[in-house]
């Protein structure tokens, strides 16, 4: 599903070039639940943004669903983001002036789905994350955990192939962290590929595979066979 071959990324800081990703080779199969760990500044978010076609890379190749993602037009990039990818951010990134239901429905708006159908589907996904009773609330009327569940519903509504989450539980307490994590696992069970950036071991332990980054290099890439079987 996701293949990175010798991907390099530089940021220019003033006159200097900052080498952030130093040749990443990653292969993630369809349906995997992967966590990316690493200390702050190791390049996790950068890697995730590249996977999400929010950012581009300077060298190497990135294939998403067997399509080479390189020098895409803004329109093409929007199309792939809309059809293949779902995002979950640490700071939720919900639109503050829209209700939970409207927020969830938004990706379908960009798929030109009719208003009525959009709202109906949004309701179904809110129900899936257990928030159908909060459909008319704006984000400011929701708790952190609820916001993240709305964001998850929004990421899922377009039935993406891959969910990309950047420290989705970074702003949540232990209790709600587990609630959100349970939804991720549920999504994983439905066969969707899930990539979670995190620095919490409790999260990483619940994934099938942990990729550790260090200074833009993959330090380790471990598949946890036994734990997987225990859970299933």
């Amino acid at each position: 599903m996701i293949t990175l071959k010798q991907v390099h990324k530089y940021y220019s800081v003033g006159k200097n070039k900052l080498h952030v990703l130093k040749g990443l080779d990653v292969d993630i199969q369809e349906g995997e639940l992967v966590s990316i760990m690493g200390s702050s500044g190791s390049g996790k978010s950068t890697m995730l943004n590249i996977l999400g076609i929010l950012d581009d890379y300077d060298e190497g190749e990135y294939h998403l669903n067997n399509t080479l993602i390189q020098n895409l037009s803004a329109k093409k990039a929007a199309y792939y983001r809309n059809r293949f990818l779902g995002f979950v951010f640490q700071s939720f990134n919900l639109l503050s002036f829209k209700t939970a239901q409207e927020n969830v429905a938004l990706p379908l708006y960009y798929q030109k789905v009719g208003r009525r159908k959009r709202n109906k589907l949004a309701m179904e996904y809110l129900e899936m994350v257990g928030l159908s009773d909060r459909a008319d609330h704006t984000p400011s009327e929701l708790s952190g955990g609820q916001k993240q569940r709305v964001a998850l519903a929004r990421a899922l509504i377009s039935q993406p192939k891959v969910i990309l989450a950047d420290e989705p539980t970074g702003a949540l307490d232990t209790q709600t962290t587990q609630e959100v994590m349970d939804i991720f696992k549920e999504v994983h069970r439905k066969g969707i590929t899930v990539v979670i950036v995190t620095h919490e071991n409790e999260i990483a332990e619940q994934t099938d595979r942990v990729i550790r980054l260090r200074d833009g290099i993959i330090e380790s890439d471990k598949v946890k066979q036994e734990e997987l079987t225990v859970k299933e």
């Binding site: 929010l54 199309y79 809309n82 640490q90 960009y110 208003r115 929004r154």
Partner: protein, 412 residues
């Protein structure tokens, strides 16, 4: 493009920035308002002046004076006298001339009587074609016709003031005989002049009689006092003015260099000058208003830039969810067009309402009548609006489309 979601969003942002939106919208409002009022007033001015033209817009008048140079043995200061033969000669030799309306006036002090009443009025002998040069409305009876001219009938068409003075209230003047300098003329019609109030007043105090009857009755046989002409369609008035004067000079032995013996007036020239003035007034109105509209549009553009900056994060989110650049551009552009169009529309309404109000008040002077907003003005104003709205939104919209989602979504 214009779906409900975008309307919701426009409504939401406008509500969030009420004062700022109002202030910028006011700029556009004022521009359109000024445009409508200035152009409407200009049009009113033009209507007023055009209405005050009581003569055909291409009429040429020629009259005679005394010679100022000796010529062919004739002395200086000789009085030039036009004749009926001049009419025939002009008709035969200058094909560009359409209407020839000779006129004779009745000079000296005299009174006009009916029964016991008596007063003095202006009396002119005219041809039927007089109406083609100086339009008037025949409100009762008829005007002078060619039969009158051929048979030298003593018939008269009187103005409304003449009727008022000579006749009792309710008495019908048509068919009655009035006496002009002791000679009876049968009233066949009542006419009302056109033009400004001065012209109308003058026409009301004038008696028009059959030209040939005047010549015969008042000792002016074969004399013509004054000519009015119009050229055939498509021919400039100045062409016949020059040709007629040259021909008359030749026929009356006036030196070609004598500029004083023949007087003339050319309405077309005057009219063209007035038209030129109106063109300048119109252009000036557009210039001023477009300047104001542009200033308003720059204001709209600025507020949109601020809005784009404030909404960077939102735009980043939308992009992450799959918004195409065009959908972002249209979001901003539409908002800009709606603000401009709506405020401009109110300007249009207010301007039109003011013009209508002035119209309904019946403000009418010598040089002002019916200020109006015609369709062309409204449509041009609307087009100007949409164009400026699009321009105003374009820079902010492009900026919005270029928002980098990674930067927009970064938490610092």
């Amino acid at each position: 493009m214009f779906d409900l979601d975008k309307w919701n969003e426009i409504y939401a942002t406008v509500k969030k920035h009420k004062l700022r939106t109002f202030l910028t919208a006011f700029g556009v409002f004022w521009g359109i308002f000024m445009l409508i009022v200035l152009l409407g007033a200009g049009r009113g001015f033009q209507n007023g002046v055009e209405e005050s033209f009581d003569v055909a817009k291409n009429a040429v008048f020629v009259w005679s004076r005394r010679t100022s140079e000796p010529y062919k043995g004739l002395k200086v200061g000789r009085r030039v006298q036009f004749t009926n033969d001049d009419v025939k000669a002009i008709r035969n030799e200058i094909p560009e001339v359409d209407v020839i309306a000779p006129r004779n006036g009745l000079g000296g002090g005299f009174s006009v009587n009916y029964k016991t009443k008596s007063s003095s009025f202006e009396v002119n002998g005219e041809y039927p074609d007089f109406l083609k040069v100086r339009p008037a409305e025949v409100i009762a009876g008829r005007f002078i016709n060619m039969l009158d001219i051929e048979q030298k009938r003593k018939v008269a068409v009187i103005g409304e003031r003449v009727q008022e003075v000579l006749f009792e209230e309710g008495e019908k003047p048509i068919g009655k005989y009035i006496r002009i300098r002791g000679i009876s003329f049968k009233v066949v019609g009542i006419s009302r002049g056109k033009g400004d109030s001065e012209d109308i007043k003058e026409a009301a105090e004038t008696i028009i009689i059959c030209n040939t009857a005047l010549q015969q009755a008042f000792n002016q046989v074969n004399k013509v006092g004054f000519f009015a002409f119009t050229p055939k369609e498509g021919i400039p008035a100045v062409v016949i003015e020059d040709k007629i004067k040259a021909l008359l000079a030749k026929r009356h032995s006036i030196a070609p260099t004598d500029k004083k013996a023949l007087g003339s007036a050319n309405v077309e020239k005057e009219y063209a000058r007035v038209q030129g003035l109106f063109f300048i007034i119109g252009a000036f109105s557009w210039f001023v208003s477009i300047g104001t509209i542009i200033a308003g549009a720059v204001g709209v553009s600025n507020i949109m830039l601020v809005i784009v900056r404030e909404r960077t994060k939102e735009i980043g989110i939308r992009k992450a969810l799959g918004a195409t650049p065009w959908s972002i551009i249209s979001l901003i552009l539409q908002e800009s067009i709606v603000i401009t169009a709506l405020s401009g529309y109110f300007g249009l309404l207010a301007g039109t309402a003011l013009m209508e109000f002035i119209n309904s008040m019946g403000v009418k002077g010598n040089f002002f009548a019916n200020p109006e907003v015609d369709m062309t003005i409204a449509v041009s104003a609307l087009a100007t609006l949409i164009v400026t709205g699009t321009f105003a939104g374009f820079i902010p919209a492009r900026k919005a489309a270029r928002v980098n989602p990674v930067e927009a979504l970064s938490d610092e």
